[in-house]
Structure formats: C-alpha cells, structure tokens
Amino acid sequence: MCLAIPIRVEALLPDQMARVTLGGISKVVSIALVEDVRVGDYVLLHVGYALTRLDPEEAERTLAHMREAAVPGLPAMPSLSAVEAAA
C-alpha cells in the first residue's frame, strides 16, 4: 500500500544486496526478501528493500485484460474549462 516502485536489477552484490536502476537512476538495495533474483529481473522497491519480483507474463495478461475491458470509441474527456463552463 505504500510507495513501492518497479525497478530493474542490474547487478547482484554480496550480503543479499543488488544494484537496481530506474530511468537512469541507480541505487543499492536489499534483496533479502526475494528468492533467486537474477540480473534483468524487475522487483518492487520499498524503503530500500525489494518486496517481490514482478512477473512479466502476468503484467502482459493484465494489460490484455484492460484492453478487453475497454469500450471502443471512447467518450471525450470533459476538459477542465468545459467543467467550469457547465458549472
């Protein structure tokens, strides 16, 4: 529930640590809570610790579900000025 972000594992380090990167920013964090981490994996980072690995297949499946749920020909998003004009 708290701020946790997906971040890529670049290198494994001793003492259950790893170097991770996001958009060119790199950080050294703990991977003690996740088993079998490999370089190239994406993990969820929260206060300096990786919480879990992100599953790329499930991520794809999620996006596919979302596209299925979408109604084609989306309605126009009311712009803020239109909201004010209506008000």
């Binding site: 708290c2 701020l3 996001l22 060119g24 920013i25 950080k27 206060v47 712009s79 803020l80």
Partner: protein, 349 residues
C-alpha cells in the same frame, strides 16, 4: 643599498586551511583575498585594491538584487556554490529584463575550510562571471569558528540596467496570456539531492545552473511590451512560481502537464523518492507570461538559444478569484497545483 623586501610565503593552497587570522583584516586576510579571490576574478576593479568599486552609471532604470547561498553539498554535478551564486543573482536581475552590470560577493568562511576547496569555488565563480560578461567588482570575507558555518556561505549582490519602456512584473499576468517554460524541470534539485548520501542514489543528472540574461535579451527583443513577466522557478519549483504569480496578478492558471518537459532520470528520481517534479528547484530555467500574439516569436528565439531548446507553451492565464493553479494531468484528469507546504520531504507511503 636598499634592504631586500621581505617576501611573504605563498598560501599553501593544496594542504592549507582557513583559520581565524584570514578574517581578521590583517596581512593574512589580504593574502587570502589576493591569492585566491583577486587571482580568480582578475579585473581592474579588484586590481585597484580598494574596499569599494567606483564606476560610471549609464542613464536609465537600475535593478538591484541580492541572494544568500547556503547550499549543501558545496559541489554537485553541474556546478558548485560559487557558480550558483553568480548565476542566481544574474538571473534575478535578468528576470526584470535587466542587463547585468556588476556583482559583489561576500563570504562567511568556516575555520578549517580547505583552501583548495575555496580556490576551486573562487575559480568557478570567476569562470561563471566571465562567461556571463559580468565582473565581481568588490567583496568581503569573514571567518567564523569551526562549526558555525557549513564550510562557506556566500552572498552575492548584483546591479543591472533595464531597457527603457520595459516593465516586467509579477502582477502583470492577464487572463488569456500564455505561459512559456524554457526547458525541463527538476534537474538542479535532483542533482543536488543525489549527492546527499542519506538518500543513496546515483545519477548522471547535472544541475541546470546557468546565467539566463542572454536568453532574456533575445526574448525582450522579440516580444517587446507584449512580454508581461519573467520568473525563474528556483526554490519550491515551478509550482511555487506559478502560485506566486497567481497571487500577485490575482489570477489563475490552467496548465497542461504533458507539455512540461521532465527528463526521464528526474522523473525516475522523483518516483523513487516520492517527490513531485513541479516542486523541485531549477537554476537555469525561466517562466515567461506573454500576450498570445507573440508566442510564436518567443518560442522561435528561445529554441534558437542553447538555454531554451526545449521551450514550450505549458498553459494559459485564467480569471480565477481563488487564484488556483489548475492542471490537466497527462492522464486526462484535473488537479490543483498548490503551494508547497513545509519542505518537500521524501515519502514512504
């Protein structure tokens, strides 16, 4: 036969430290000023060796500005406290549309501060000033006991000349005016934060610290009186600047998030730390508010200038008696961009 003049030993810049004698006003002070500051700033005013600089003043409207610099760490990717002190005060003058004339610099040094670092800072200031075509014509140094200052605090004061007929002011924004941003936001704040070891991240991001008066001169020439105001979004970021202007001009803003340039690394650092780039400091960017008719001309001259390549229209001024800065998010929804409350602190959740 005359006696040989006593040759004082040169400062040991490599290994030496600032000590209390350097602030006492005696021989040691003079030597510090001579070998570090005069050496770095190298101009006829300082060569004269007076406590003040005297110069003729061109006719016209003068602008004066002053700022204190207490940044930590002192050295960061893309700059240091010295170059920042030069750029920052030049920019304050430039935001009035002024051509900067002269700078003054005063230093509060901490006992024990390495002379090598002081030289590095002084030389950085000298370079920044000369690149900007401005001289540091007078200054002062004081030394305080160890622990009473974070290495060095710098205050710079500048004067400049505003072209006749130009009246840029924060209370001149009017509904319908366009808002233009000169480039990406958040670079400086992220670069500095990356050096704070408590946050522990590394990045290639450089501070955008730069003197904007050249860009401003081109903009003033292109837009003339249709340019309402300029402001540089420093502490508190773009959000704070827009709220300040809204308050002063008694208006609101409607901004498009997707038109605001943010570097991927800055966006990533902000994700990591739970920060909003809108509130992160910039030191080489400006916000312009201008009548819609001159937007294209302004964008053209800005994009032709090295400091304005990513210039874009980010929104417009609205009539709003609550002075809200509203934003359409990239997601398509709406939000308010409010004043910063307290200091922007990294979140956990």
């Amino acid at each position: 036969m005359s006696s040989p003049r006593l040759r004082a030993r040169k400062l040991d810049i490599r290994g030496g430290l600032v000590d209390l004698s350097h602030g006492a006003g005696g021989r040691a002070s003079a030597q510090l000023i001579d070998e570090i500051f005069r050496e770095a700033f190298d101009n006829p005013f300082l060569e004269q060796g007076n406590d003040q600089a005297a110069f003729d003043v061109p006719a016209g409207r003068m602008v004066m500005s002053t700022d204190g610099y207490v940044i930590w760490p002192l050295f960061f990717p893309g700059g240091d406290i010295g170059s920042l002190a030069v750029h920052g005060t030049i920019n304050d003058l430039a935001m009035a549309g002024a051509r900067p004339l002269h700078l003054a610099a005063s230093y509060i040094l901490e006992e024990g501060f390495p002379l090598a670092d002081l030289q590095r800072i002084a030389q950085s200031m000298g370079r920044a000033a000369s690149q900007a075509g401005v001289a540091i014509v007078t200054g002062d140094t004081k030394v305080v006991e160890r622990g009473k200052a974070d290495g060095v605090f710098i205050t710079t004061t500048g004067i400049g000349l505003v072209p006749a007929g130009l009246d840029l002011s924060g209370d001149r924004a009017r509904p319908g005016d366009r808002v233009i941003l000169s480039g990406s936001i958040g670079d400086h704040g992220v670069a500095v934060m990356s050096k704070r070891s408590s946050l522990g991240f590394e990045t290639e991001i450089q501070s955008d610290s730069a003197a904007l008066h050249g860009l401003v001169a081109a903009m003033v020439a292109a837009a003339g009186p249709s340019l309402r105001l300029l402001r540089d979004p420093t502490r508190g970021g773009l959000a704070t600047t827009l709220n300040e202007i809204a308050q002063q001009s008694r208006c609101g803003f409607l901004i498009e998030e997707s038109s605001i340039p943010v570097r991927p690394e800055v966006a990533a650092a902000c994700e990591l730390l739970g920060l909003d780039p809108l509130y992160v400091a910039n030191e080489g960017k400006l916000v312009a508010v201008a009548e819609p008719g001159v937007t294209d001309a302004l964008l053209a001259v800005m994009r032709a200038h090295p400091l304005g390549r990513e210039a874009s229209v980010i929104g417009e001024v609205t009539a709003d008696d609550e002075y809200f800065v509203q934003m359409t998010t990239s997601f398509g929804g709406g939000r308010i961009v409010d004043w910063l409350a307290g200091e922007q602190l990294p979140r956990i959740c």
